[in-house]
Symmetry: C3
Subunit: 433 residues, 3 copies
């Protein structure tokens, strides 16, 4: 009988041991693939910054190119460093938990502090969470850059951006993604139509309005004079890199590599972007009788911004509708802002603010799980807070150090006046009258 | 005895439960990594479209840049949307199963319809399959764009492309990848030397021939006047992005993340591209006595197209031979087409059609598992069908709305005449006589 | 009793079988995700070559653009092919094991030779190891390209690079990564601050010094005349692609997808790059009173090179210090080399050699696990060997075929004199006096 008992214990022991080891490896494998996908998404979001830099410089004048590139490169660095300093802690979790608190700042191996690996139930590590979110942070400020281009002082822009990305972005982000009060009410913004794009878009609107239009853009008699972008291949590179990076922006927001969810998000994101191109193409072709490249570029971005809030909960057929409508919307919006004499050189307000709002509302319209009323509440809450705070920061900067370059500097171009450098040394470039 | 039985049942139960749970997690982990790799491959193939757009605009004249960018961006949108509309259903499986039938079009969560996740034996989801294949679809039409550049009407091109990508590409694709009649005969085309590149290449040939050469390209006395590309950095960006994206094009065609197979494909693809550079470098240096940048760019693409059919079944050493031969071939082919007065501004026919055929035959020559005769059959079948159908569509478009811009429009450039927009506003650009 | 025994054997058998199958799948899943991450890293390192190509051509004159692009594309092909021919075998393992020996060169399926899949304890395959390392190899030679730009003969450069990348790089690489003598002493260079960047940097120094400065760079009276880069958007694209690719360069050097280690490396790499931007921005703004774009571009690269040796063992807060110091260092270094009349058109020596040394020493300063003395030993060993061997190869090439183009060729530009091709046909470009 004793022998028998041993005989029984044997399989108990071995079977469990085997199974337990297999379990550990299996768990590790799933953890590893989920984590690596979010890291991959992080570098995809990173390259979106190159997309913004090239899009914005392509759509503006050659004489302001160095300035735009400088702004976009420095804002990445500022965004990442301030996010480590305070943004990450301010944003998660939603209830205010002090400004500073990046865990593991002083450890020299990832295992150096308990719980940083087994963070998030073994889906991703603390470091992965930080780096993915940090890449997002800088985008909000970058959106502003386009709308205020060709006339803002570089030092003023850097100070505004630093404050906006270090404080405003994480505070309002915590409301939803930090499990804050809007999340509790059932507001849904999957990857940031509002939390990233509108947050940037409101500041872009405030900036463009406060600065006033570029010299010569609107004549005394109310005529609108287009100021042409100097490099359309550069702008196209920008848009395509943004679309490319969006697979990480939306795809990584699943916060795991779950096959069903990530592939669904890829499909809705792609269909909406494609429909945005067609929507903007048909609308602008109909209005101006010519197929307009800059409009289809903005159309694809409009579709992408539009689907960002609901990429996880809007059906493929409806994502085509969302994108198509965003593509139409962006064309009319660009025209409308021009009529209102709000000078936005790259159409950032139309793409990010207008289509960001549209995308947030679309969740309430097309998804059975969310309420249009709640989505509207979110849009208003973000709008009021961002509009007011952006205004306050802009006014403080304006009063203390000035916001706009002098007329003479604007005419010479910011590359020479602010940076003493040309973007295209040796090329014969003339200013278009 | 009863107690004893319980004692025995315990390990049975727990051991199996443990094991079963481990099994589930393990299966899920493998499913997740296979699926995410194909999604990664999908965005790599996506960025190839930026590669085509920049390569083609870099190798043509500054005055036609907006036009080329416009064509390449809109063709992505058209390719993706028509693939959702009918292409995907037409292509898989091979036997005709009606035009329309995108499953799960109306569901707002990936779990919304049974079988869309557990598609393909748990290797990838339905949505993953669609998005990877949809990214492929548009490439065939993009290949045509380069060969017909600088003289085709934008509206005519868009209509031709839409029909070709929506109908012809999926129908002929089904013959092999849809388990159709050529697949049954043992024809092998791993990632599309024929199914993508030659299919696009045949239409490129038809287009270039039907349109006729650009004004001034061939003088009355039979002299060939080179029309120089306007932006070599842009062309280089294009080629490198294409090479970069090819890791998804070929790597994703494994249809799983199997370590042996994917890494093998990476090695053969890379060696062939590198050998294509050297092959084209030596050949063109020998012929023209100068190291020719545009030839080594085309050489790398030639090597990539050449290995695409057999990247999974040609040995590393033979992949060097395939690529080297493709690099030589592309140089002679470019020269030959020029002698035949078939004007292909970017060398698309030489790269995609000629090297596509070479790569397809190379499978029969270098792989022990496939027959040269069968490969030849495939090349002929695709050639005849694509050549005839491309001709029919071109002729219908030509007769109904015209295919070529007027002489005056061609001289002014398509950017102004078709789009009323300049690619490089402010730059002093002259037309080379 | 017999029945009982069977009853006992049942769970033993089934439990184990279940567990064993689960174990196999779990192991396969972990293998697959580790392997695919290194392949992903390989294509990220690949795109760094486009980064180098665009950065170098952007920072030099328009008339030498085709030449730089040609060098950078051909060096990739040369690097990959020579690495297959002899580099891979020379480098691993450290003890010399003959020149040639690429396993599986002749097999036409990955399973064709035993042990190529179950290589590296099932973390990655033989082919994965090769392709990741091959992508690294070419970078060393590419670094040289920038320092010798605008005056080196194309044929001489190609021969120098081929020898350097085929022999010197793998030999010195084996000392550390091939488990050679420096590895045995405890020298640590995680991803190549020394093994890649300094190895390239030493040859860059030898090249720039041996060739002498570009015409007109330093006047008789000792004044320094800046020769401006012709395309700052191109340079910015280059830097951002390098930063992007660095996630594979450093992230892949973990040699697995281990969640803790890879995410830690992502964080240190990113923080150091960001701090490099700020360090260079403040330093150059302070010195020249203007925010300097080319300095913040070099600052980010300085931060990246600086953290590369210790990305796995330097804490996040210290990685900020490493990057910030690198950003300061690179500005002073660029100025210093100019004073010494060593003409390095793109700052390659400062970025790769100076910051490579700094990063290698930083491991000894900031990581508790490594000794500063040992790190210094490594720096000296690599310095002496690379400096001497680069000198020998350069002198042999110089004596046998000449190293520098003629004065006339340099004035016309290498694009016309060496390649008979313009980079920007149609654009009005003047030479800055």
């Amino acid at each position: 009988m004793k022998k028998l008992k041993q005989l029984i214990l044997l399989p108990l022991l071995f079977g469990s041991l085997y199974a337990s080891e297999a379990n550990d490896i299996a768990f590790q494998a799933l953890f590893t693939v989920n984590n690596i996908w979010i890291l991959i998404s992080a570098f995809l979001v990173f390259i979106m910054h190159l997309g913004f830099a090239t899009l914005e410089s392509g759509l503006t004048q050659a004489k302001n190119t160095v300035n735009i590139l400088f702004k976009n490169i420095s804002i990445i660095a500022i965004g990442i460093l301030t996010y480590a300093l305070c943004g990450f802690n301010l944003m998660y979790p939603g209830n205010f938990n002090g400004f500073f608190g990046f865990a593991g700042l002083g450890i020299s191996t990832p295992e150096g502090a308990a719980g940083l690996i087994e963070y998030a139930d073994g889906t991703y590590t603390y470091f992965t969470d930080f780096i993915f979110q940090a890449m997002f942070a800088a985008t909000a400020a970058t959106i502003v850059s386009g709308a205020v281009a060709e006339r803002i002082k570089i030092s003023s822009f850097l100070i505004f951006s630093t404050v906006y990305v270090a404080l405003i972005y994480p505070i309002v982000g915590s409301w939803t993604w930090g499990a804050g009060w809007l999340d509790a009410r059932g507001f849904h913004d999957f990857a940031g139509s509002t939390l990233v794009h509108s947050v940037g878009g409101w500041a872009a609107l405030v900036g463009a309005y406060t600065l006033g239009p570029r010299l010569g853009k609107y004549s005394r008699k109310g005529k609108i004079k287009p100021i042409l972008g100097h490099n359309m291949p550069l702008a196209t590179i920008g848009v395509m890199l943004l679309w490319f990076g969006w697979y990480g922006f939306n795809g990584g927001s699943v916060l795991s590599a779950d096959p069903g969810a990530v592939s669904f998000v890829f499909v809705t994101t792609t269909l909406s972007a494609a429909a945005g191109v067609i929507g903007a193409m048909l609308t602008s072709w109909f209005i101006s009788k010519k197929p307009d490249l800059s409009m289809i570029l903005n159309g694809s971005l409009a579709g992408l911004v539009g689907i960002t809030a609901g990429a996880d909960c809007i059906s493929p057929i409806n994502s085509v509708i969302v994108g198509f409508a965003a593509g139409i919307l962006v064309v009319f919006s660009v025209i409308q802002f021009d009529k209102m004499k709000i000078d936005d050189p790259v159409g950032a307000i139309s793409v990010h603010l207008v289509c960001g709002i549209w995308g947030t509302l679309a969740v309430g319209i097309f998804s059975p799980d969310y309420q249009l009323g709640t989505q509207l509440t979110g849009v208003f809450a973000y709008g009021i807070f961002c509009f007011v705070s952006a205004n306050i920061i802009f006014q403080i900067v304006k009063l203390s150090m000035g916001m706009r370059v002098t007329e003479e500097e604007e005419i010479i171009g910011l590359d020479i006046s602010e940076h003493d450098m040309e973007a295209y040394a040796g090329f014969q470039i003339f200013t278009i009258e």
